[in-house]
Symmetry: C3
Subunit: 139 residues, 3 copies
Amino acid sequence: MWLQRRVTLRPYPRGFHLITREVLAALPELGQVGTGLLHVFIGHTSAALTVSENASPDVRRDFERYFNHAVPDGWPEFKHTLEGDDDMAAHIKASVLGSSLTLPVGAGRLVLGTWQGLYLCEHRDRGGARSLVLTLHGE
Amino acid sequence: MWLQRRVTLRPYPRGFHLITREVLAALPELGQVGTGLLHVFIGHTSAALTVSENASPDVRRDFERYFNHAVPDGWPEFKHTLEGDDDMAAHIKASVLGSSLTLPVGAGRLVLGTWQGLYLCEHRDRGGARSLVLTLHGE
Amino acid sequence: MWLQRRVTLRPYPRGFHLITREVLAALPELGQVGTGLLHVFIGHTSAALTVSENASPDVRRDFERYFNHAVPDGWPEFKHTLEGDDDMAAHIKASVLGSSLTLPVGAGRLVLGTWQGLYLCEHRDRGGARSLVLTLHGE
């Protein structure tokens, strides 16, 4: 069984955001998969996807703080500055965190640890509505 | 052919550790796959998986040193500090390195480069026994 | 449908390089896949793969500058120095960026965003010709 679906997320502000529910809501067919994999891909180069802690909003805030420190907006050595101070930093953060997730599916559910959730990592000040491609396959 | 299996690793100390043998030992069926993919997922947000050099213990020690420098325990700007100085740093390192690996399988074996091995990246001082979900599919 | 193919890239200098065309040229069968996934794996621990901006050469130059700053060659705390100043830094960069990509395939094409391309991240001064394993499956 193969299923591929494009999903447009609502616009999120810059930062890290839990999107587990939004992704699952777009895939009611997941309940029919006994064993499989879900691939989630983001079609942008200034936002990313990761798996992290699903409970504390402070964790998401600390991610944002840390990455702004590690990859500063407008770093003086950047040459690609035409699209704003946040643009080149966003490309780098997006590659560090990654543009896709592959997640196990078992007994009709995502097989995640108790504390795991899916994050959208929005690195632009005004990234707009981000587009995901969900690919589900299994049996 | 689809196969999904949960594996609990023995507890490892904080640091980077080769687990290629442990993963393969849990999957004798891999020998029957002509062409396929193995997905390895860690169900935790303070430990990660990566592929790197499989020979020198110094490489693993240098990984630990570097990441402790790049993402310091108890960084003063962290707000999520309830679970200890190593906790928030562990979440960030885990997202930078990633929670899953997808690896090619060919002729009944993992198709890795000569120098590649699978690493468990244990970022907590006392992370305990970590749980993996292995999903093998192929023909 | 499963297909697995080894591809040897031409040698690239140290830096970040667009390889989308080289990868696609090695996979004419991709045009026959209605829905599927392409897995691209690099069989080395001092080079990596990522998805980022496909237009501006400045972006690739800024990636190289940033990563050289974030993970310095010959960092004094590295012990694994036998293979040169660029070696240990290369292993770390490769793990941060990742050794594989999984990409959606739809209607016989890679389903990438308008601005997305595949990068080879060459972290050694003389990395030579890098070997990829492409695994395509779908229906």
